[in-house]
């Protein structure tokens, strides 16, 4: 028990140092623009279908589930606003981040882990190329930028899903649906929700890279790196979300 606790703290310590190095190296040339764009493509574009499907289902299901309660109180007209609000504030960021933890964090963990195990990272190191700069900085940066974009995309698709959900029981004009949403939405709802997605993105990338980069030797450690990247990233997302909600609560 004490041993695992000690391990956890050691790990948090080295992860912090690992993250610190990111801020040190992100501003120093050489900038790996090409690798960065490639990672944006891999991380962002390739996750679109998955995020679209989950986003749509979230909107649809949320609408169908909330409807009976609101109908009971005769407040059916609140439905679009309520669904949009919970989507944008909470559900889309968290679910999308969790999906990214599963897809991106584990992907990075496995990729860098296998590079580590097959000595590719060492090969970069001995040819005087900074593997941290080339592999880690690009990936963390790409995640930090792409995850918020994916969340906004999920918001939009979720709202469309909500529209479909509403139309199962009634016939609402899309323009009217959007007006109802915009009426209940305030600009301040968007800001904290968007800010926290940058943190989600950063940690998804950072944890995947950290686990992969520190994979021990042997092929089985690649699987371990991928697996523990998902677990750690998911847990981190929940903790961050809790902190974010508390902070938002204080200020707004």
């Amino acid at each position: 028990m004490i041993f695992t606790l000690k391990n956890t703290f050691t790990e948090i310590g080295s992860a912090t140092l690992f993250a610190k190095q990111f801020f040190k190296e992100v501003f120093i040339p050489p900038y790996e623009a090409k690798e960065f764009l490639k990672q944006c493509y891999v991380i962002g574009y390739k996750s679109l279908p998955l995020v679209a499907i989950t986003g749509f289902i979230m909107g649809l299901v949320l609408t169908l589930q909330s409807r009976p309660t609101l109908v009971k109180f005769g407040a059916e007209s609140w439905l679009p606003g309520m669904v949009a609000l919970s989507l944008i504030r909470e559900i889309a960021p968290v679910i999308t981040a969790l999906i990214c933890a599963g897809k991106i964090s584990s992907g990075i963990g496995a990729e860098l882990g296998s590079m580590k195990v097959t000595e590719q990272i060492d090969a970069m190191e001995v040819s005087a190329i900074n593997p941290y700069n080339y592999l880690v900085v690009t990936r963390i940066l790409a995640c930090t930028i792409m995850v918020p974009i994916l969340v906004i995309f999920a918001d939009a698709i979720g709202i469309i899903g909500g529209y479909v959900g509403i139309n199962i029981h009634g016939d609402v004009n899309f323009y009217r649906y959007l007006t109802q949403i915009l009426q209940s939405l305030e600009f301040l709802d968007l800001i904290p929700a968007t800010i926290k997605t940058f943190f989600f993105g950063f940690f998804i990338g950072m944890i995947g890279c950290f686990k992969g980069f520190n994979a021990s030797n042997g092929t089985e450690s690649v699987g371990k790196a991928a697996n523990s990247a998902v677990v750690t990233a998911s847990l981190t997302i929940f903790i961050l979300d809790m902190v974010a909600v508390q902070i938002t609560d204080l200020f707004f």
């Binding site: 050489p30 296998s114 000595e119 590719q120 060492d122 090969a123 190191e125 001995v126």
Partner: protein
């Protein structure tokens, strides 16, 4: 000049007149709690010399050469490369030395997300930014020609056999024209004919580019062809040292067993 002397002097005294390029003194390394791999390795490689290191699997040969390039930090000891103290250099200083050293990994260590062309061009582009795309391409083709694999240029590493990966790894190591080359088992896993070609390539590079090398191998044919001097690693120290002919007739049966 030293060079003129070389030719006139007999082989035995030749080594003495040469400048040491790699010097290792009293190198110790322990992994984990009790896996003491190196227990005081001493070795010197002179300018233009090919040193072959022999030893049982797991005796710490790879660890030794990884210490030279700073991939593994030893617990104790001194390593000098080009008269620089490798263990006390800053990162940029170390990188300056690393560019002058080629390292062939035992596993090949090709970047598996890149094609063969990109694998070779990657390091070249990073270090010689002044080269045009065409020049890079020419260098890549030439390097692949050297190892006899020019038609693999558009393949991905996963499409290559183990031996081909090894040769591409060698081409990648040689493309920067390093002054020191550390070969970790360059011929393991290759058929006898290819092994011989690789050994001859190593010899050829040494003569053409005047490189200094350390070659780790289990392949005695390769050792015989390339070695100016052989060292045998046992129990974490250099157990025997000499030319191929000397060690072949060594009184220690264990040393002789390598040559059977």
């Amino acid at each position: 000049m030293i060079k003129e002397k070389e030719n006139t002097e007999p082989k035995k005294t030749k080594e003495k007149s040469k400048t040491p390029i790699i010097q290792i003194k009293d190198l110790h390394k322990t992994f984990g709690v009790d896996n003491e791999v190196l227990k005081g390795v001493n070795l010197t490689v002179n300018q233009g010399e090919d040193l072959v290191i022999l030893g049982r699997s797991g005796s710490g040969k790879s660890v030794t050469i990884k210490c030279i390039v700073g991939l593994i930090v030893p617990d104790k000891g001194e390593i000098k490369v080009f008269d620089e103290d490798v263990l006390n250099l800053t990162k940029p200083e170390l990188n300056e030395i690393r560019v002058r050293i080629g390292f062939l990994f035992q596993s090949g260590a090709l970047y598996d997300s890149m094609s063969v062309r990109e694998n070779l061009a990657f390091t070249l582009k990073k270090h010689k930014r002044e080269l045009t795309a065409e020049e890079v391409e020419n260098e890549v083709i030439e390097a692949l020609d050297n190892v006899g694999l020019s038609d693999a240029i558009d393949k991905m590493p996963s499409e290559l056999s183990g031996g081909m990966q090894k040769r591409i790894g060698l081409a990648r190591t040689l493309i920067l024209k390093p002054e020191i080359i550390l070969y970790d088992e360059p011929t393991t896993g290759l058929d006898t004919i290819t092994s011989r070609e690789i050994s001859e390539l190593i010899l050829d590079i040494k003569h053409k580019r005047k490189t200094t090398s350390i070659i780790i191998t289990h392949d005695m044919a390769c050792a015989k062809l390339t070695a100016d001097r052989i060292m045998v690693l046992k129990d974490g120290v250099i157990h025997a040292e000499g030319t191929y002919e000397e060690l072949e007739k060594d009184e220690d049966e264990w040393v002789r067993s390598f040559f059977e």
